[in-house]
């Protein structure tokens, strides 16, 4: 009864779309022609880069070289596939867990690291990159994405927004308002949900009774798509289609990418309190997005052990260099705190700034 309302089985309308299956074989041959070696290698490269970055992040936290870090291992296909589908000038609104996406879209490795070092610079994207800082209040960013998309629409460009959010985020009022505004004003925005099964400790069954997130699109008369979020091809092509539709004036899309985080919610979290981490280990064997793509590449003769080894070396070097940059960054100045609240400091802030300088003997 739960799943059949008004005589219709809702979730059956939202099958988990796959292009690349667990064995590394194409579930849908029609995409074959678009799967150029260049594209495939590029997807793999970005995923590997994200994974190496992520592992580095966890290590840096363990070593006390940055603060709490939020790992995303397991979600690389979802993040990289979707980010690769975006174009220059588009807008990206990530959460705290979406560095895979932002790095792929052109964020600087150094700045992303600085974010986790508690540095405000971590909120600043490279010039020309419309990447918003990670949204901390859950689901609030959906509205910003709708807003920037609305602006592009009014300017008459063909730019779009993508916004990331988790399964837990769908419970917030802002999720609903974001989808409704985008629907009513037919805005060029892709709502990209990473359903990783948990909001910290809360499993999705406690978050909602609906069996899919995609079906929530029905309430807004917008398109909803559910897909295998560990299948980078499925993510890439479906996001691209949604973005293309948005650019063409076809309005918003809700994409549910079903995935899993292998690690903890954050480095401050102990997942053994609420789930069996062995399950993650086992899942990994069949679902790891990098392994799956590697299988495909091997089957398609796109894999080259030397290439892979070189790639890992190169990416590691890039990340290490960024870590150095992060650690060599000039220390923050206290005035960074005072001088950017407004375009010009009001007397309140100026008085406080001066008094504080005085007290410190400056």
């Amino acid at each position: 009864m739960e799943s059949i309302k008004g005589g219709v089985n809702v979730e059956s309308q939202f099958p988990k779309k796959q292009i690349l299956n667990e064995d590394g074989k194409l579930a849908d041959d029609s995409y074959k022609i678009r799967l150029t070696e260049e594209l495939v290698k590029s997807l793999y490269t970005k995923m590997l880069r994200a994974r190496l970055f992520d592992r580095k992040g966890v290590n840096l936290q363990r070593q006390g070289r940055i603060g709490t870090y939020v790992p995303f291992e397991g979600q690389e296909a979802a993040q990289i596939g979707s980010a690769m589908a975006m174009g220059e000038g588009d807008w990206m609104f990530p959460t705290y867990r979406d560095h895979g996406a932002t790095l792929t879209f052109g964020h600087s490795v150094k700045n992303v690291l600085l974010y986790w070092k508690g540095r405000q610079e971590g909120c600043i994207p490279p010039a020309g990159k419309n990447i918003f800082p990670p949204a901390v209040p859950i689901a609030s960013q959906l509205l910003h994405a709708a807003g920037t998309a609305w602006a592009e629409k009014m300017k008459g460009t063909d730019r779009a927004s993508i916004v990331y959010f988790g399964d837990g985020a769908t419970s917030e009022g802002d999720f609903h308002e974001g989808l409704n505004f985008a629907s009513v004003f037919n805005l060029p925005v892709v709502f990209f949900n990473q359903n990783n099964g948990f909001a910290i400790s809360v499993p999705i069954e406690k978050q909602m009774k609906a069996k899919t997130i995609a079906q929530k699109a029905l309430g807004y008369d917008i398109e909803g798509i559910r897909l295998d979020g560990n299948d980078v091809f499925s993510v890439y092509f479906h996001t691209k289609a949604a973005i293309d539709k948005a650019r063409a004036g076809g309005g918003p899309t809700l994409i549910e990418a079903v995935t899993w985080r292998y690690g903890a919610h954050t480095t401050a979290d102990d997942p053994s309190k609420y789930r069996d981490q062995n399950e993650s280990l086992i899942r990994r064997e069949t679902t790891d997005p990098l392994i799956r793509l590697e299988k495909y590449m091997k089957l398609e003769n796109m894999w080259d052990t030397q290439w892979s080894a070189d790639l890992e070396k190169e990416l590691t070097a890039e990340i290490e260099a960024a870590v150095k940059e992060m650690e060599n960054e000039r220390p923050p100045h206290v005035n960074d705190m005072f001088d950017h609240v407004f375009a010009e400091n009001p007397w309140t802030i100026n008085d406080q700034k001066e008094a504080y300088a005085l007290m410190r003997g400056e």
Binding site: V136, P137, L143, H144, G173, E177, H340, A343
Partner: protein, 331 residues
């Protein structure tokens, strides 16, 4: 040399409309959005006629969702527009609180200026018009305590237009509060075209050397009445309309307070934590040695605004202000 400036007689709410029209004519990127602001022209007619003049793309009726209005306005503001978002009443701004507190007010600081949010949030506010529950809240102090947003409150038509234009031109978010009780209470000559009243500057409504009365918005009226009354008893009140609540006009306030040494503060928001507390604190900081009496605050009570059968009791009036003036004078 004098420049002839055309003026017309407008109510405060008409001056708001005029300010919006002026800026929309001048800047393509100024847009207005909110509930019922379009065809209906707003429940107070503040946007009357603007949809006909500027079209549905720039005067936008939104779904009924305040977080949605502010959240999308943030996106619009970050991406080249100057949204003027209307909250139908200030008492309905609460669903948008998260968007204002964690985003609109912080984006510049968070990104060291890489992203900015030049937007205006307009909201009618205050009691005394027999409105239903929640419609009468005065919660300006929630926002003066919020880093990163300015708070402006005109009390007359001239200031309303000039401050609104200044707010729209401001590079940062401004909460623009419109005292409902003043919407149509009087008319005033308002210049045609563009002019600004500087944000952060109060105005001396009446000079006097015995006691300073600090107020804003709808409370200007009872304050002026009480001042007139006091005059009959030989008490010369200096009445100041603060006009901007954040940042306060510290110098103007300090000068007046140091001249008189006696202060009454009048606002209709609840007493504890209201702007009165902040003003007492500012006076403590700037003028301690000048004070001849404790500051008196005449405010709303620490109660919700009651339904309208009792709201006249809730609201500070001439009698309460007068009583406070005498109290500080006779201390």
């Amino acid at each position: 040399m004098t420049t002839a400036v055309e003026t017309k007689k407008l109510t405060l709410v008409q001056a708001v409309t005029d300010g919006l029209r002026t800026m929309m004519k001048e800047h393509e990127n100024v847009i207005v959005l909110g509930e019922d602001v379009g065809r209906n022209g707003g429940v107070f007619r503040a946007t009357d006629g603007l949809m006909d003049e500027f079209g549905e793309k720039r005067i936008i009726d939104t779904p009924l969702a305040e977080s949605g209005i502010i959240g999308t306005s943030i996106g619009l503001a970050m991406n080249g527009f100057r949204p003027v978002a209307e909250m139908q009443f200030l008492g309905f701004i609460y669903p948008a609180f998260n968007q204002i507190m964690t985003h609109a007010s912080r984006i510049r600081a968070r990104t060291l200026g890489a992203f900015t949010v030049p937007m205006v949030i307009r909201a009618p506010f205050g009691a005394g018009v027999r409105a239903p529950e929640i419609h009468s809240d005065s919660v300006e102090a929630l926002f003066t305590h919020m880093p990163g947003i300015k708070v402006v409150v005109p009390s007359n038509a001239y200031d309303a237009k000039g401050l609104l234009i200044a707010s729209i031109e401001d590079p940062d978010p401004v909460l623009f509060l419109e005292p409902m009780r003043c919407y149509r209470s009087s008319k005033m000559e308002v210049p045609e075209g563009k002019y600004t009243v500087e944000i952060g500057k109060g105005s001396v409504l009446k000079e006097g050397e015995h006691v300073t009365v600090l107020t804003y918005g709808a409370m200007v009226d009872p304050v002026l009445k009480a001042a007139e009354q006091a005059e009959k008893h030989g008490i010369h009140v200096e009445a100041i309309d603060l006009r901007t609540l954040y940042p306060l006009d510290k110098d103007l306030i300090a000068q007046s307070v140091q001249k008189t040494g006696r202060v009454v503060i009048v606002h209709e928001a609840p007493s504890t934590g209201g702007l009165g507390d902040t003003l007492v604190s500012l006076i403590n900081d700037t003028s301690f040695l000048y004070m001849k009496a404790p500051v008196e605050r005449v405010t709303g009570f620490d109660t919700p605004v009651p339904m309208f059968a009792l709201e006249d009791h809730y609201l500070p009036d001439k009698a309460r202000v007068t009583s406070a003036i005498h109290k500080v004078i006779n201390f």
